[in-house]
């Protein structure tokens, strides 16, 4: 069981790494606040997949599920707060462009 499971692990890890690259790229390239949050969401999806596959390979799916459920709850609340912040920014300067909020020095 274990050897077979380990063989599954590597392709999954490969896809997790690709998802990570997409997420980081999305956060660092975009100028839009909401799209940055979407990038964060992609990262969280990638890590969820990593937990599930880790639980499956090591034969601890129950623990992995407990972890994923807690993670999803936390993620939902964190995104709610972040969306609230985005709406606050938008109500102040009527734009979602990060380039307009960068200069906080003035």
């Amino acid at each position: 069981m274990n050897v077979e499971a380990l063989q599954i692990f590597w392709p999954f890890l490969l896809f997790v790494i690709m998802l990570f690259i997409i997420g980081i790229y999305c956060i660092s390239i975009t100028f839009n606040l909401i799209r940055a949050l979407l990038g964060v969401e992609i990262l969280i999806k990638a890590v969820t997949l990593l937990i599930i596959i880790a639980g499956f390979v090591s034969g601890r799916t129950a623990l992995a599920q407990a972890v994923v459920i807690s993670l999803i709850v936390i993620e939902a609340v964190a995104i709610t707060v972040a969306v609230g912040i985005v709406i606050g920014i938008h109500s102040h300067n009527n734009s979602l462009d990060t380039r307009k909020i960068v200069d906080t020095d003035k």
């Binding site: 623990l63 972890v67 993670l71 936390i74 964190a78 912040i85 606050g88 920014i89 300067n93 906080t104």
Partner: protein
């Protein structure tokens, strides 16, 4: 009994938010004072091992939590900083409803920080970390100021990326050990031959804590959040949140799970040194009072990381002691900056000057904070820096020790220039009519200054009772 540290704040939030009891809502501030004072007293009492054993023996729930001296130091400093934040907030926030919300959020922070100290399971550590982080997002934007919102957005993105790295590290550990409890992981990792995945998960974890703590390559968010958040919140942030989320988590994991590792230690030493240099240089050129304090935090965190990186028990104790001292003197400096801001409406250092004449208490207490921060004897900051430098020498890193001593001069330089610009020199006529800040600010400043003086002067007692027992626990047994 330990679960009380988490459940009492939680149930008090529930109680005060019950729909029928709106009459009691005014009492929440007083109740929060009681809770924070009780936690200070309890934490001090728990430092004696006999009482600790009695206290931890009773278990109602199988929460898998435990208490040791490292946790106690964070419990103590978080209670002190929360108390001071509450004192400031009651003076800064006028509206009744807003104050009610603010105190609720402080209680959430207390529950989260206590859980963070007590957790002995990787994932519950993460959950409480995230509780504190989410509460702090809301606290930063409490006034809905546009600068605070922008700073908060950057912080949210970076902090969530850090959380993702942390969970990825937890997932890899889950794969290797099949569990998330510290003891099980520790045994499983010791049984493994050193391999790529372990190193990778350690690296992910260390990176995540560095982002949360604002160490140099990831320090972008820190000065902005410190300088743009509401005054009371910046006290809380500078005092405890970034330290507990970043440094304490790192220390806990190194102490309980991974154990000191030669590669990690050399990386820590290097990053710590870079942090000290860049933080201090950036602080030298700042013109804004609060921003300078933010960069000074980056530099001080560097010292704490040097202590951890020395890989010895003494360095660990010194790092924990420096977390406590930093919580006290940085809170004091931020309290004073809030006092100045409340009177002069500016934090631009070149506009200020000679404020010692009109605000004597603020001026005097900030001298104490400055002496402690710069590491001059005999106040508290000197002793913790001495411990760190001694640990560096004893563990065979004399170059880092010498650099740490030399770079103290840089700390002294920026703090002196701050003192000169803000408190000494000629008084700007615009501010000749202002009075000493309100009673709450003075009270908070005096309490913190007293703690600095007492810790410094009673150093042998503090070291023997609180700090050295820490060195004899955990991996260094």
């Amino acid at each position: 009994m330990l679960a009380l540290f988490i459940t009492v704040p939680f149930f008090s939030i529930l109680f005060f938010n019950l729909p029928f009891l709106s009459y009691f809502r005014r009492a929440i501030t007083a109740w929060a004072y009681v809770l924070f004072c009780a936690q200070i007293a309890l934490a001090l009492r728990l430092f004696s091992p006999d009482f600790l054993n009695i206290f931890t023996a009773r278990v109602f729930f199988n929460f898998n939590i435990a208490l040791d001296n490292l946790s106690l130091i964070i419990l103590l400093s978080s209670a002190i900083v929360l108390f001071i934040t509450l004192v400031i907030a009651t003076y800064m926030i006028d509206s009744e409803r807003k104050r009610f919300n603010f105190v609720n959020l402080l209680l959430f922070t207390q529950a989260g920080l206590n859980g963070l100290c007590l957790a002995r399971d990787m994932f519950s550590l993460y959950i409480f970390l995230e509780i504190v982080a989410i509460t702090s997002y809301i606290l930063i934007v409490f006034d809905k100021d546009i600068k605070a919102l922008s700073a908060a957005f950057k912080y949210v993105i970076l902090s969530t990326v850090a959380s993702v790295l942390l969970v990825a590290s937890i997932a890899l550990i889950l794969l290797l050990s099949g569990d998330t409890q510290f003891s099980v992981i520790h045994n499983a990792i010791s049984a493994q031959t050193p391999n790529l995945l372990i190193m990778f998960s350690v690296a992910l974890f260390v990176c995540a804590t560095f982002i949360k703590a604002g160490v140099v390559p990831f320090h972008g968010w820190l000065p902005e959040v410190y300088s743009h958040s509401p005054a009371a919140v910046s006290v809380l942030f500078a005092g405890i949140i970034s330290k507990a989320l970043g440094i304490y988590t790192l220390m806990r994991i190194v102490n309980d799970v991974f154990g000191p590792n030669i590669h990690v230690n050399s990386a820590l030493l290097f990053i710590g040194m870079v942090s000290i240099v860049i933080g201090a240089l950036a602080a030298l050129v700042q013109k804004d009072f609060k921003k300078m304090l933010g960069f000074s935090s980056v530099s001080q965190i560097g010292y704490i990381i040097l202590g951890i990186g020395s890989g010895s028990a003494l360095g660990f104790a010194g790092a924990a002691f420096h977390i406590f001292n930093h919580a006290i003197f940085k809170s004091l400096l931020f309290v004073n900056s809030a006092a100045i801001e409340s009177r002069t409406r500016t934090t631009h250092m070149h506009e200020l000057g000679g404020l010692s004449k009109v605000m004597p208490i603020t001026g005097l207490t900030s001298v104490f904070a400055f002496v402690s921060a710069a590491g001059l004897p005999p106040l508290a900051g000197f002793w913790s820096k001495l411990l760190i430098v001694m640990a560096l020498i004893l563990s065979g890193h004399p170059v880092y020790a010498i650099l740490a001593i030399v770079l103290s001069a840089l700390t002294l330089a920026y703090l002196l220039s701050m003192q000169r610009l803000v408190f000494f020199g000629k008084l700007n006529e615009r501010f000749s009519k202002i009075k000493e800040a309100e009673f709450g600010f003075s009270l908070a400043a005096i309490i913190l200054a007293a703690i600095i003086i007492v810790t410094g002067l009673l150093y042998p007692f503090v070291l023997g009772k609180f700090i050295l027992p820490l060195a004899s626990s955990g991996v260094f047994k």
